[in-house]
């Protein structure tokens, strides 16, 4: 092999060898590469800059909330102190958010996994109808639920028999299932479909019942998909605003998103932008960390579910 190349090279001038060693790309191709890098930089800037502004604004002095300097001077973490001051009680709101979003996620996964498995693997009459029902459920406006639920949860006539649920976690968690469950079923179905059906068949040939095959073979393999779904559902529940705004009016029961929207700030009577931005950063950073760690899986989950 090596001899042939040597023979070849003898016929080439030094210049030609240089040329072959560094193949010159056509000009428009090179421009294309440069443009694609410029484009990618633009995309990243587009996505990051408003968020950068939020971080910068949170690091100013509380009195300079509306400053338009691109770098805070002097930098200060007073806004973050303000967020967790006794007056705002934001720590409590964060705990509330964790409880609400966590419970929603666990419930949704518990029921969603088995439902999604049935949809992905089994053939039965009415599957189309079920898929459409779940689809329809994920697209209907949440505000439709508000009038009857508000009446029900506040024990207003004719729902006087109903316990008073305003300011309870379940008043947000249960209606929240109406968007969390379809989202989870949808995403999980796509993940289950990717696993070859031969896996269960092999397990059953070896004497497993379908139930055991599901638990011992499929579930461990689907764990990454389940984790992804859990993250997507958790972020959805964490970001939920309308239900929490309606049903959680007590300051000690508010979730973080509602608390931020009602901030009075640590100083002044003007809109306390600095504190709001600091709280926004606090609420967003855990999500961003999860997203950055699991970005590949989340993108896969989003494209599979096709749902926000």
């Amino acid at each position: 092999m090596s001899t042939t190349t040597e023979v070849h090279e003898e016929h080439l001038s030094q210049e030609e060898i240089e040329k072959l060693a560094h193949p010159k790309q056509p000009l428009n191709r090179r421009i294309g590469v440069v443009l694609s890098y410029v484009g990618m930089a633009l995309i990243v800037l587009y996505c990051i800059i408003p968020f950068y502004w939020m971080i910068v604004s949170s690091l100013r002095l509380p009195t300079e909330g509306q400053s338009t300097e691109f770098i805070p001077s002097p930098a200060s973490i007073d806004n973050y102190k303000g967020v967790f001051s006794a007056q705002n009680n934001f720590g409590r709101s964060l705990i509330n958010s964790v409880i609400v979003a966590g419970t929603t996620t666990i419930l949704v996964l518990l029921f969603g996994i088995i439902g999604a498995y049935a949809l992905a693997r089994l053939r039965f009459r009415g599957k189309g109808a079920v898929l459409w029902l779940i689809m329809a459920c994920s697209m209907f406006p949440l505000v439709v639920l508000l009038p009857p639920l508000l009446k029900m949860f506040s024990s207003t006539a004719p729902f006087t028999w109903f316990p008073y649920w305003i300011n309870t976690y379940q008043s947000v968690i249960l209606p929240g299932l109406s968007f969390g469950l379809p989202l989870a079923v949808w995403t999980l179905t796509a993940f289950f479909k990717q696993l070859p059906v031969e896996l269960e068949q092999a397990a059953m040939v070896d004497g497993c019942t379908p139930g055991v095959a599901f638990r011992k073979v499929i579930l461990p393999l689907a764990a990454p998909g389940v984790l992804t779904t859990a993250i997507i559902v958790f972020i959805g529940a964490w970001n939920e605003f309308l239900l929490a705004l309606t049903f959680l009016q007590d300051k000690n029961r508010q979730t973080a998103t509602v608390a931020i929207s009602k901030f009075t700030g640590s100083t002044g009577f003007d809109t306390p932008y600095g504190t709001i931005m600091a709280a926004g950063v606090v609420v967003t950073v855990p999500l961003l960390l999860a997203v950055l760690i699991f970005q590949r899986r989340i993108v896969a989950g989003l494209t599979a579910g096709g749902v926000k």
């Binding site: 995309i43 109808a129 898929l131 639920l145 508000l146 109406s178």
Partner: protein
């Protein structure tokens, strides 16, 4: 699609998957097992969504009694049945407000706001999202960074992004500083509309980009090579290959964005505030009514929004052929029913499958 349910139970054996049939434990008695497994999901959906929707419809036929009962002289309470009055009141124009589209009933103002915000936002998001997807598909390196960046707007809670944009659009904020103008973005002016559009587009165009990218990655390179051999220009390649091949993924993405924008609440509420007629959407209006215990009208407006959303979804599925279900079994039946050649739905199914696989 509803016709699928009326199909006979036994599926005709198709070539290639005969081994999945009847004779193995996976397919025997699948129907009953499937319904047992699905029961919890379906029951929960019925309880947390189905029943409230029915109650909401019932509510929309009622109004809260107001004032003093003439027969007893006591303050009236409870509800009275008013039939379709809450719906007919929409056309009565009893509550005129002045928004971007002149003076009209508050409902219609909210309706047109919702519609126009949706149209403008989704158009912008689609164009920007497709552009993003094309750039990302061309990328050789650094795709991970871009993907991470693109998930930032998606992960930020909408209400936080609303407040973030509120600061940016403040009359003495950074947007006006960059533009060198004094625009009152947040003061319920025509500019408020665009402030909402910009904030929504920022947050969700990357989402369309992601879904479109998944579609783009499934287009085989051979298509482009063949086109090049035939002398197609870049534009021709885009219009004749890229767009048609990416259409199924794109239509689904646009459908989801449209339905989501139609029920927009957090952004106008958090950024401009409630009761601002230039940007009041149907969701905000219905929420306001419900919060002020006018449950009947609130339910009526929410129901109209619901029907509107269903209608738009129906149009997408029927006219644009959005294939949202993507289940091979269901599609097989549908195809058989139509008797047509294998349609692009099956391809959509495999494409999405591959996209997921490829993204891992």
């Amino acid at each position: 699609m509803a016709t699928a349910t009326a199909e006979p139970r036994s599926l005709p054996a198709t070539e290639g998957d005969g081994h999945k049939h009847k004779k193995n434990a996976l397919s025997d008695g699948q129907g009953r097992l499937a319904w047992i497994l699905l029961a919890p999901t379906l029951i929960i959906i019925a309880v947390v969504a189905g029943i409230p929707v029915i109650l909401s419809f019932w509510e929309s036929l009622h109004q809260t009694n107001e004032g003093v009962d003439p027969t007893t002289g006591l303050v009236a309470g409870g509800d009275k049945f008013v039939g379709l009055q809450n719906f007919t009141n929409i056309f009565a124009g009893a509550n005129p407000v002045t928004g971007s589209f002149g003076t009209m009933d508050r409902f219609w103002n909210a309706f047109f706001n919702t519609t126009f915000i949706t149209i403008v936002c989704v158009l912008l998001e689609t164009v920007i999202g497709v552009a993003m997807a094309l750039i990302m598909a061309k990328a050789f390196r650094g795709r991970g960074i871009v993907r991470a960046g693109i998930l930032v707007p998606w992960a930020i809670p909408t209400i936080v992004s609303a407040l973030m944009w509120k600061l940016i659009f403040d009359s003495s904020g950074v947007m006006n500083r960059i533009l060198g103008r004094e625009i009152l973005w947040l003061a319920d002016t025509g500019a408020s509309f665009w402030a909402i559009v910009i904030a929504d587009t920022w947050k969700t165009a990357p989402f369309i980009g992601l879904l479109t990218l998944a579609g783009l990655q499934t287009i085989p390179a051979e298509c482009y090579e063949a086109a090049k051999v035939d002398g197609a220009t870049t534009w021709q390649q885009f219009v004749r290959i890229t767009l048609p091949m990416v259409k199924p993924a794109l239509v689904v993405a646009v459908l989801f964005r449209t339905l989501d924008t139609l029920r927009m609440f957090d952004l106008p509420y958090g950024m401009i505030g409630p009761g601002k007629y230039r940007v009041e959407t149907l969701s905000v209006f219905a929420y306001q009514e419900a919060a002020q215990t006018r449950y009947g009208p609130a339910a009526a407006y929410a129901i109209v929004l619901f029907v509107y959303v269903l209608l738009v979804a129906f149009i997408f599925v029927r006219v644009l052929g959005a294939e949202v279900i993507g289940d091979a079994d269901v599609q097989k039946k549908k195809k058989k029913k139509k008797g047509g050649p294998p349609s692009d739905e099956a391809m959509q199914e495999t494409m999405i499958g591959e996209a997921i696989g490829g993204a891992h």
